[in-house]
């Protein structure tokens, strides 16, 4: 019999209890998820909702246990193991372990996800590539690193301690990355960033190298060294990719010609009184806000500011360049929406050089232009409804303004965020007894959901993404600070308009006589008054 299969069958027999527990947890999680999406929002559903996160966590813990147990059944660390003086072929042993993980972790996870999709109302056969991509993500982010760790540790206890140590290193890494982002700006909005895919590939290659080294040579310290190198590599790549992305912005966002789809002008519309406070340090960065007005967005288009760059020049010729920074928090501009705030962060050392002086600012914005595409109008039903290429929604009822009235929409999408979608509807300002709200009645409400840049799947243990459809004007503000919830009446059209990116470009404006905000540094705190 093939040696790999022989070892695999031994492991399957030996760990049948662990396998059974793991399968029970996985399918328990699947059944709870399924109940959550099919039941009404009652107390039973709330209990299920409370159980889902711990069960999802248990699925991951179960993986950790099973991976450690099966890899360390033929321990690769030490020199007293039974198997190392037996005719084990290393490639067969490694294949057997791989087969085990595939059969008892990947396959059940894949099946559970397919079941969840089906229960949520999405035909799983249409999402096989996305499901496989999700599996690939989990393999790269969890299964492979856990396997690599199990190959370089000698026992479950050591593996656990190592994991804790890695957790600490990871937190330190996150802090370092955050510091780096604060220092250099966040480039995640620039075409998804370069660092992510490279880090992903490096992490996979590094873990695979450590695993193969261990199985082929049992060079424990060499394999540990390879794994220890990973955070250093990731930090270096993140730093390097940040610099690379900066350099790539000019290529990604060519300068707009005369027929730019949007024009910006500097138009401060509020007088600053807002005060921002944070801890003082030599690395502190002062937010410099620019209030702009825009014109020219054509009907059927939306403009998404992605990145901004400010070049500040003082009268004496001294100059500061912010580099590209992304500070728009998902802002989308439609025709008629003519104000926006943008800001760049300036190191405090530079701030002191330019404070209280009239400055000339050359502000450049990198924007994405998106065009309206498929539009779906659905008269709001009382129950769940599907929206093609988007997902499925169901009305959520609440106690206010009247029990049983629809107060919001709860939507789910298969595997990932939908394409960037603009959702519009009309709120009823009174009871729904008069029927659906017409296009000229009630109060308009809108929401943006989804993204222009989407991966085939998001890293999510549940294959269904819950969408936060925050429709504007849901609350009516009345006299004396009173608030009143509005409702959606059955039959009222809900319009879903999808937007697709049609281009990226730069547009710029000059601001003369600009003053930096007022900054006070005292008692270890910095106060910024816009």
């Amino acid at each position: 019999m093939n040696q790999a299969l022989h070892i695999f069958l031994k492991d399957a027999r030996r760990f049948w209890v662990e396998i059974a527990v793991q399968l029970a947890i996985t399918f328990g999680f699947a059944s709870i998820g399924a109940s959550l999406w099919t039941q009404a929002a009652d107390s039973h559903a709330q209990l299920l909702a409370a159980l889902a996160p711990p069960l999802a966590f248990l699925v991951l813990v179960g993986w950790w246990l099973l991976i450690t147990r099966v890899i360390q059944a033929e321990r690769l660390v030490g020199d007293t193991q039974f198997w190392i003086t037996r005719p084990y072929v290393w490639s067969s042993l490694m294949s057997a372990k791989g087969l085990f993980l595939l059969a008892f972790i990947c396959l059940p996870f894949f099946i559970a996800q397919a079941i969840l999709l089906a229960v949520a109302g999405f035909a799983p056969q249409h999402y096989i590539p996305g499901l496989l991509f999700n599996l690939l993500l989990y393999t790269a982010v969890l299964i492979l690193p856990l396997t690599a760790l199990a190959t370089v540790t000698s026992s479950f206890a050591r593996m656990t301690l190592t994991l804790l140590g890695i957790l600490l290193v990871f937190i330190a890494f996150l802090i370092a990355i955050t510091t780096m982002i604060v220092a250099n700006g966040d480039f995640s909005s620039i075409a998804g960033g370069t660092a992510g895919p490279i880090c992903f590939a490096i992490a996979v290659a590094d873990c695979l190298t450590a695993i193969v080294l261990q199985y082929a040579l049992r060079r424990v310290w060499l394999a540990r060294g390879v794994l220890a190198l990973l955070p250093v590599l990731l930090a270096a790549v993140t730093y390097g990719a940040g610099k690379y992305d900066q350099a790539q912005v000019d290529k990604l966002y060519p300068a707009a010609q005369d027929d730019a789809p949007i024009q910006f002008t500097y138009a401060p519309w509020t007088k600053g009184s807002e005060t921002l406070r944070f801890s003082a340090s030599s690395h502190a960065r002062i937010p410099i806000e620019f209030q702009l007005a825009e014109t020219g967005v054509a009907e059927g288009y939306a403009i998404l500011p992605d990145v901004v760059r400010a070049e500040v020049t003082a009268a004496d010729g001294s100059r500061w360049d912010s580099g590209w920074q992304g500070e728009f928090e998902g802002l989308k501009l439609l025709p008629g929406e003519n104000h926006l705030n943008t800001r760049v962060n300036m190191p405090i050392a530079d701030y002191w050089k330019f404070q209280s002086r009239p400055l000339t600012v050359h502000l450049t914005l990198g924007i994405s232009q998106a065009q309206a595409g498929r539009t779906t109008a659905v008269p709001l039903p009382n129950g769940k409804f599907a929206v093609a290429e988007f997902g499925a929604c169901s009305p959520t009822t609440a106690w206010t303004p009247q029990p049983g009235q629809i107060s919001a929409l709860h939507c789910i999408a298969p595997l990932r965020q939908p394409q960037l979608t603009y959702v519009t509807t009309r709120w009823a300002d009174g009871p729904c007894s008069t029927g659906p709200v017409g296009p000229d009645a009630g109060v308009g409400g809108h929401a943006w959901v989804g993204s222009l840049d989407r991966a085939p799947s998001e890293l999510n243990i549940a294959p269904v993404t819950e969408l936060h459809l925050d429709i504007s004007n849901a609350i009516a503000y009345e006299e004396k600070g009173k608030q009143r919830s509005r409702s959606l009446c059955p039959g009222t059209p809900i319009v879903f308009t999808q937007f697709n990116r049609v281009g990226r470009m730069q547009t710029s404006l000059d601001i003369q006589g600009f003053y930096l905000p007022k900054v006070i540094e005292a008692n270890g705190r910095i106060s910024v008054t816009e």
Binding site: M1, Q3, K10, T80, Q81, F82, T85, P87, V89
Partner: protein, 318 residues
């Protein structure tokens, strides 16, 4: 004839400690080679180097014609290894372990397996973790002998076992001996003396000597010279004379290069006034004690490690 094991200047360091110090060793095919030495002498390290469990810092070793550093996978089809420190798949029953291992070895002899199980009285349905140490060793033996390996390597296999279990294991081993080469390590001379054909002595990582048991026994004698009158210890003694001491009219030493006839003549010439000479054969234990106490390994110039032959080994077995 090719030796089953040959090492050349094998050296292994752990930090500053030299565990194996330039060992050159030959284990002839068909021999039962006992590697003896005190605890910490380097026996286990040497065996681990041979099994490619550890890698040498210098030198090389060939096992069954293969470089030990490349030993692995299917090469272990022909090698049986049992060590007192070896872990067993404790979660398995004896039966499950034998069933599992059967799939690895093309030469697995089911009849021999059954015979060993009977001979060792192994409880097939019990998990290994529930067995006594002796029973575990028996299970390890059975799983390492049932495929009739060409080479069996045993690292302190009898350590801590009661005499009954030890004899059972030795019995099982000897039954297989005619068709295999056996290398075993021990710090207890008495347990290997009865059935080994060759012996190598390790001290502080160095191989002091390596030769056939018969020639070793023949060349060591406890010599007593009775003189007519008290005499001081001779000023310059031959290197082959170990542990020399004198008391009144008696001069005693261990001769490490005894030759029937010529040694008597040599002593008669050296001690013309001697009243009597006696030449007592020595046990292996006495020989090693003499060597260890003298610490004059270098003086054992008549090491015969290369003269060992399979013929002598078979003779000893017979």
């Amino acid at each position: 004839m090719n030796p089953t094991i040959r090492t050349e200047s094998l050296r292994k360091r752990f930090g500053r400690t030299v565990a194996v110090d330039g060992i050159s060793l030959t284990v002839p095919e068909g021999s039962i080679y006992a590697l003896v030495g005190a605890n910490g002498a380097g026996k286990t390290t040497l065996i681990k180097l041979l099994m490619n469990i550890l890698r040498p810092n210098e030198g090389s070793a060939q096992v069954l014609g293969m470089e030990s550093a490349t030993l692995g996978g299917k090469a272990f089809n022909r090698i049986g290894y049992v060590s007192e420190n070896q872990e067993l798949p404790e979660g398995m029953t004896v039966c499950a372990m034998l069933d599992y291992l059967r799939g690895f070895y093309p030469t697995w002899d089911t009849a021999l397996e059954r015979q060993l199980v009977r001979q060792f009285d192994l409880p097939l349905k019990r998990k290994l973790k529930h067995l006594s140490r002796g029973m575990k060793m028996k299970a390890a033996f059975a799983s390492s002998l049932a495929y009739r390996p060409s080479l069996i390597i045993l690292d302190e296999p009898f350590s801590g076992l009661d005499p009954l279990v030890r004899d059972e294991l030795i019995e099982g081993l000897i039954e297989l001996a005619p068709e295999t080469t056996i290398l075993l390590s021990s710090h207890d001379l008495s347990e290997i003396e009865s059935f080994s054909s060759h012996v190598g002595y390790l001290q502080n990582g160095r191989l002091l000597f390596s030769e056939e048991m018969t020639t070793l026994g023949n060349r060591f004698r406890d010599v007593t010279v009775t003189l007519n009158e008290p005499a001081p210890l001779p000023a310059k003694l031959p290197a082959a004379w170990l542990e020399a001491q004198t008391m009144d009219c008696v001069f005693r030493f261990v001769h490490s290069d005894f030759k029937e006839g010529s040694t008597q003549r040599e002593l008669a010439e050296r001690f013309p006034s001697a009243r009597d000479f006696s030449f007592e054969p020595m046990t292996l234990r006495q020989i090693f004690l003499a060597i260890a106490k003298t610490g004059r390994g270098a003086a054992l110039h008549s090491s015969k490690q290369d003269s060992a032959s399979k013929g002598a080994a078979q003779e000893k077995k017979a």
